[in-house]
C-alpha cells in the first residue's frame, strides 16, 4: 500500500488546528461562564488579569498545573489516572466527524475541512459520548470515596436515561434526512430557504430539537441537570478526590464537551456552516475565503449555543433526582416517540 504523505500531513494539520482550537475555545468558555454568571447577577466577573480579565483562563490553567498532585492511598491508582484521561479523550474525539466547512477546491485537489467523513457520523458521536460516561464512572469508583461513587452512579444513570431520548429524537430527524453522515445532513440544509420552506432542520423538527437540547444539557452534566456534582449533597461529586491537572482535565473535558456538543447541535439543527445567501457569496469570493466565512459561521452558531447553555445554567435551579428521572423517562421518551410518529405520518402523506 502506498502512503499518501500529503494526505497525512493535511489531516495531521487539520487535527492539530481543531484540537488547539477547541482547547482554546474551552479555555475561554470558562472565562465566558464566569463573565456570564457575573453580569447576570449584577457583578463584574474576572477583570483583573489582562484586559477584561482575558488572561484569567491562563492564570487558572497555570494554577491547576502547579498544584500538588494527590493520589489517595486507598484509591485504585491506574483507574484513578485513567478516569480524567478517558474523559478528555472522549471529549476531543467527537470533533473528528464534525464538518467544519465546505470542501476547498483548488487546482491541486480538494481539501476537506472534516477529519473523517464517515457515513455513520452521528452514530460515532453517540458511541463516543457514551464512552465518556466511563471517564466519570472510573474516576468516581477509583477514588474510593462514597460520595464520588454515588455521584458517578448518578452521572451514569442520568447519561443512559437521557441518551435514550436523545437517540429517539434524532431518529425522527434521520427519517427526514435519510443519512447518518454529518456532511450529508449539512449539505441538505444548504442555504436558508429552498422550495418554499426553511432548509434548516430546526424548522423541520422543532420538537425534536427541544428534546435533543434538553438531553444535551443532561449529557453535559450541566445545570439544571448537574446532579453528579451537586455540592450540597455530594460535596464535589466525582472529582472530589482529584487535584491538580487531573481535576483540570475533568473540568476542561466538560467545557470541550460543551463546545463540541454546541457544534453538533449547530450542525444538526441550524445548518452547520450554511448561511443565508451563501451561493451569492460563494460566487463572488475566492474558495479559501468562502471556506473561512463558513467556518466562522459555524463557530458563531456554536458560540451562540454555548451562551444559551450558560444563560440556562444561571437561570434555572437544579432538578431533584426523581424529577430528573421523571422528566427523562415519562416526558421526553414518550414525546420523542410521538415526534417519530408525527414525522413518519408527515413523510408518508404530506411530503411523499
Amino acid at each position: 500500500m502506498q502512503l499518501d504523505i500529503a494526505f497525512i500531513i493535511e489531516k495531521v494539520l487539520l487535527i492539530s488546528v481543531i484540537l488547539l482550537g477547541s482547547l482554546g475555545i474551552a479555555m475561554y468558555a470558562t472565562w465566558a461562564e464566569r463573565k456570564v454568571a457575573a453580569v447576570m447577577q449584577d457583578r463584574r466577573g474576572p477583570n483583573r488579569a489582562g484586559f477584561m480579565g482575558l488572561l484569567q483562563p491562563m492564570a487558572d490553567g497555570l494554577k491547576l498545573f502547579f498544584k500538588e498532585e494527590i493520589i489517595p492511598d486507598r484509591s485504585t491508582r491506574f483507574l484513578f489516572i485513567l478516569g480524567p484521561a478517558l474523559a478528555m479523550l472522549t471529549a476531543v474525539m467527537t470533533s473528528a466527524v464534525v464538518p467544519w466547512g465546505p470542501d476547498i477546491v483548488t487546482e491541486n485537489g480538494v481539501i476537506s475541512l472534516q477529519v473523517a467523513d464517515i457515513n455513520i457520523g452521528i452514530l460515532f458521536i453517540f458511541g463516543v459520548v457514551s464512552l465518556g460516561v466511563y471517564g466519570v464512572m472510573l474516576g468516581g469508583w477509583a477514588s474510593n470515596n462514597k460520595f464520588s461513587l454515588l455521584s458517578s452512579i448518578r452521572a451514569a444513570s442520568q447519561a443512559i436515561s437521557y441518551e435514550l431520548a436523545m437517540g429517539l429524537s434524532l431518529v425522527a430527524m434521520l427519517m427526514m434526512t435519510g443519512s447518518l453522515s454529518l456532511r450529508e445532513i449539512v449539505e441538505q440544509q444548504h442555504g436558508f430557504w429552498d422550495g418554499g420552506y426553511f432548509t434548516w432542520n430546526f424548522f423541520k423538527q422543532p420538537l425534536g430539537f427541544f428534546i435533543f437540547l434538553t438531553c444535551a444539557f443532561a449529557e453535559l452534566n450541566r445545570a439544571p441537570f448537574d446532579l453528579p456534582e451537586c455540592e450540597s449533597e455530594l460535596n464535589m461529586g466525582y472529582h472530589q478526590e482529584y487535584s491538580s491537572m487531573k481535576l483540570g482535565f475533568y473540568l476542561f473535558a466538560e467545557y470541550i464537551n460543551l463546545f463540541i456538543s454546541s457544534t453538533v447541535i449547530a450542525t444538526l439543527f441550524f445548518g452547520g456552516y450554511n448561511f443565508p445567501f451563501m451561493d451569492q457569496v460563494a460566487a463572488s469570493v475566492s474558495p479559501v475565503l468562502f471556506a473561512i466565512i463558513c467556518v466562522l459561521t459555524l463557530l458563531t452558531k456554536a458560540i451562540c449555543i454555548i451562551l444559551f447553555f450558560m444563560f440556562i445554567r444561571w437561570t434555572l435551579p437544579r432538578f431533584r433526582y426523581d424529577q430528573l428521572m421523571r422528566l427523562g423517562w415519562k416526558s421526553l421518551i414518550p414525546l420523542a416517540l410521538v415526534n417519530m410518529v408525527i414525522t413518519g405520518a408527515v413523510i408518508l402523506w404530506v411530503i411523499k
Binding site: 444563560f311 437561570t315 434555572l316
Partner: protein, 168 residues
C-alpha cells in the same frame, strides 16, 4: 387560629399543562436573567475608584503639630482616660532648655503609644484632647503581619514637620 394576618394561602392545585411543560416558566426566567445583563453594576472598582468617606469618618490617629512644627501633645493623659478600650499609654517628660522648637509647652509626651488592636475608633480621645493634638484621620487602618506592629509609636502617629517637608 390565625395569629397574624400575614400568612398566605399556598396554592396546592395540581400544575396545569402550561406549568408542567416548564417552557413558559423557563422563558420567563431567561427574560429576567438576560435583563440583568444590561443592568448597571453596583460594584465600585476599589483601587482605581474610591468612594468618598463620610464627613464623620473616624480612621487612623494622627498627632498634630502647631504652625511652627512643634508637637502639641502635653501628655496630660486625658485621651488615655477617655479611651474606653484602654488603648492609649504615654509617658510624660519635661522640656529642656533649647527644645522650645520641638515641643510647644513645658511638658511633652516622651512616649505615646496606641494599640490599634484594642482601639475601637470611637473618637473619644479626639474629643477629650484639650490641646487639639490627637485627631482621627480619614485613613483606613492598614494590616500588618505581627501583633507588635499594631502598636503605633509616637513616630508612627506624628504628622510630618511642616517646614522640614518644604525644605526637602
Amino acid at each position: 387560629m390565625k395569629l397574624t394576618n400575614r400568612s398566605a394561602q399556598i396554592n396546592r392545585d395540581p400544575m396545569t399543562f402550561g406549568e408542567k411543560i416548564y417552557l413558559p416558566a423557563i422563558a420567563k426566567g431567561l427574560s429576567i436573567t438576560v435583563g440583568h445583563i444590561f443592568k448597571k453594576k453596583a460594584t465600585v472598582q476599589y483601587p482605581e475608584e474610591k468612594r468618598p468617606f463620610s464627613p464623620v469618618f473616624r480612621g487612623l490617629h494622627i498627632l498634630n503639630r502647631d504652625e511652627q512644627g512643634r508637637e502639641r501633645c502635653t501628655a496630660c493623659g486625658l485621651c488615655a482616660l477617655a479611651c474606653p478600650a484602654e488603648a492609649i499609654t504615654m509617658e510624660a517628660a519635661e522640656r529642656k532648655a533649647g527644645e522650645e522648637n520641638l515641643y510647644r509647652e513645658e511638658k511633652y509626651a516622651a512616649k505615646y503609644e496606641i494599640n490599634m488592636l484594642r482601639c475601637i475608633f470611637c473618637g473619644l480621645c479626639e474629643e477629650a484632647c484639650p490641646k487639639d493634638a490627637v485627631y482621627l484621620s480619614e485613613t483606613v487602618m492598614p494590616t500588618h503581619y505581627s501583633r507588635s506592629s499594631f502598636i503605633y509609636k509616637k513616630e508612627d502617629l506624628l504628622i510630618a514637620h511642616p517646614h522640614k517637608q518644604e525644605s526637602k
